[in-house]
């Protein structure tokens, strides 16, 4: 099979759509929603407990999590709790032309609000530039960074790269 995740080291949009089922157009239009990019049977469940609205569930400890997109409000609380750093929140309704993508982040330097950063896709390829809108210090030193990106990149932008400062 082409793009078999284990043969390239990351998930692709098509595989995700097939494996976890993405939110409908109508749901996306309503605002922020979590996308859980965790498809294997890892014995793990902090995400389930993190969601106070009960949107995330697991049949058993070792089945992949499932999410009820109608219950999820996109609050991002599960993003910094997940040990796999596998949960992202996207809001395609953020602005006319921009979507907001919230990403777990554990590197230095931590970007600042308003900073311009490179946005990368799941393979680490640069796909555009974005503006940091919000930086929240989450649980146990994991930051949740929300970056505004071109609307069509909402389902692709999954990482950021700090642009080199001149004085470095």
């Amino acid at each position: 099979m082409k793009n078999e995740p284990r043969e390239i080291g990351y998930l692709t949009y098509d595989v995700l759509k097939e494996k976890i089922g993405l939110p409908s157009k109508e749901r996306l239009a309503k605002g922020p929603v979590a996308i859980i990019e965790c498809t294997e049977d890892i014995p793990c469940d902090p995400c389930v407990e993190a969601c106070k609205l009960g949107a995330i569930s697991k049949e058993s400890l070792i089945t992949p999590p499932t999410i009820d997109y109608e219950k999820c409000t996109g609050c991002t609380l599960c993003v910094d709790v997940c040990p796999g750093l596998a949960i992202f929140v996207i809001n395609v309704n953020y602005k006319e032309e921009k979507a907001l993508v919230s990403i777990p982040y554990e590197m230095l330097p931590v970007p600042e609000r308003r900073e311009k950063v490179d946005t990368l896709d799941r393979s680490g390829k640069k796909i555009g530039e974005g503006e940091i809108i919000k930086v929240r210090r989450g649980k146990r030193e994991t930051f949740v960074v929300s970056v505004a990106v071109d609307k069509n990149l909402a389902t692709e932008a999954r990482s950021i790269k700090i642009q080199k400062e001149e004085n470095e």
């Binding site: 995740p5 390239i8 080291g9």
Partner: protein
């Protein structure tokens, strides 16, 4: 040679360095910090060659960082063969390269004190398996002692900066080093005891008791401990597998675990540009940890056509731009005294290198993460029978579901009983601790309940695809244990 630096800012860790101390290395003054080892202080100040190999005179340097490989032997205050990676620096110490053979001075000034101990349960190794065994047996009322040869208790956990999977009962969502802290706190609360810098070196059977000789490092010498115990639990973990390739002896080629110790325990950057060999969970995680420490990861290579570890770990690296090159292996390391490059090569389905696909990488660090093997040598001395179980990573002591080996009263748990992961290591430890209490009649009802709960949790975990293979290995092991025991009768 890249400049080696201490890490002052880290996204997760806050390195609490002690007071600065000065010592002599080959007559030169070197500064280190209290609570760090001699080898760490040397590495941080740019000394990378720690000695020469006896046969080929190759340079040797930092390797395992946990006292297992002997790559760091030096003469300290006149005494040869000191494992400098697990010996703390002290003000005014005299450290010398010892030449190829360690020669003892005519009148060695080694103070050795002797002490005897008797405990119900002696645990060797303070990783997740040992700590959980200790917490369980102490809580059930057994007088328990844990010993560990490293200066900091916690085994592999203390070097892990990532949050662990699992469920709440096994501390899921905490970072490895936080799990160690939490477990130690738990041990302290129930009154459990542990000793660090104490190596178990020999086993004896005397007066119907198991007896271990252990050496405890002290400020001014050593203390020889003779520990008699009714029950022994060996939770000594695993050692890293090595990989043969030209110039793999060069300083700059390190085991993943050794680098974690340097970088995550002591806050020293192991190099500047890294190549990682092996895309199992260990390789993937160390890649991420290197990035956190400010090291550039040039590539992660893997001979198999797919990543071996979890996809979520691989994805973290991939999206940060680290190339994950499958069907690749390392052809050779470059450099004379230290790594200054590597050549990688593609492999075919049979893992054979394909001529003409070589590529040179500009790296000063090559990390080997090609698996672990159980490390329980001490059990062979006690006469525990071993068997080779591919699913558990190689030779392991034969044990039953209560974690008891073929010798009465000697147990094994964690990676030492077969390579797996931390949650199952804890559960195995809990089972061993409870099984001992049950047998010794300490709160046997509670003990049985604890043991049975742990069994069911363990079998649940082992249904996951990554641990199924462990379940299969353990089944073979139990079967063999039954055979050995029926033979004895």
């Amino acid at each position: 040679m890249g400049t080696i630096q201490r890490i002052w800012r880290h996204p997760i860790l806050d390195f609490k360095r002690g007071r600065s101390v000065r010592f002599q290395f080959e007559g030169k003054r070197i500064e280190g910090y209290e609570n760090e080892s001699i080898a760490v202080a040397l590495f941080a100040s740019g000394v990378k060659v720690f000695g020469r190999s006896r046969r080929f005179n190759h340079p040797m340097g930092w390797f395992c960082g946990i006292g297992k490989c002997s790559s760091c032997l030096m003469r300290v205050n006149g005494i040869p063969n000191v494992r400098t990676c697990i010996t703390p620096v002290r003000e005014g110490m005299r450290v010398e390269l010892q030449g190829r053979k360690g020669v003892l001075p005519d009148e060695p000034n080694i103070k050795v004190k002797k002490k005897e101990e008797y405990v119900r349960v002696l645990i060797i190794g303070s990783g997740p398996a040992g700590l959980e065994t200790g917490i369980t047996s102490t809580k059930l009322g057994l007088d328990t002692l844990i010993i560990d040869e490293n200066p900091i208790p916690g085994g592999q956990l203390i070097k892990q900066t990532h949050k662990f999977f699992g469920s709440k009962k096994e501390y899921a969502g905490l970072r490895g080093f936080e799990i160690a802290k939490t477990m130690l706190e738990g041990l302290r609360k129930c009154g459990g005891r542990y000793l660090t810098e104490t190596s178990a070196i020999g086993y004896y059977w005397k007066n119907k008791k198991h007896k271990f000789l252990a050496v405890q490092k002290q400020e001014d010498g050593y203390q020889l401990l003779e520990i008699k115990a009714d029950n022994i639990v060996v939770t000594s973990g695993a050692s890293e597998n090595y990989l043969p390739f030209p110039r793999n002896y060069l300083p700059g080629v390190y085991g993943a675990g050794g680098v974690q110790t340097l970088m995550n325990v002591y806050g020293v950057k192991p190099g500047n540009k890294a190549l990682i060999v092996g895309a199992g969970n260990v390789g993937l995680i160390i890649g991420y940890q290197l990035l956190q420490a400010g090291v550039e990861v040039k590539a992660l290579i893997e001979a198999m056509p797919h990543v071996g570890g979890y996809l979520v770990h691989a994805s973290k690296l991939a999206r940060l731009g680290v190339p994950i090159l499958l069907r690749h292996t390392i052809k050779e390391a470059k450099g004379e005294e230290y790594v200054n490059g590597a050549t990688i090569i593609e492999v075919d389905e049979n893992k054979q290198p394909i001529e003409g696909t070589e590529r040179k990488l500009d790296v000063d660090l090559i990390l080997i993460a090609v698996g672990l093997s159980a490390s329980t040598k001490i059990l062979s001395q006690a006469g525990c029978e071993k068997m080779f179980v591919q699913e558990l990573g190689g030779w392991i002591p034969i044990h039953n579901e209560n974690m008891e080996t073929t010798i009465d009263g000697i147990y094994v748990a964690g990676d030492g009983s077969g390579i797996a992961e931390a949650s199952t290591a804890m559960l195995e430890g809990r089972i061993a601790g409870a099984a001992i209490a049950e047998r010794e009649g300490y709160n046997p009802e509670d003990a049985r309940r604890i043991r049975e709960d742990a069994f069911s949790e363990l079998s649940k975990l082992r249904q996951s695809s990554s641990l199924k293979i462990v379940a299969e290995g353990k089944r073979k092991c139990q079967q063999r244990w039954n055979e050995v025991k029926s033979h004895e009768k």
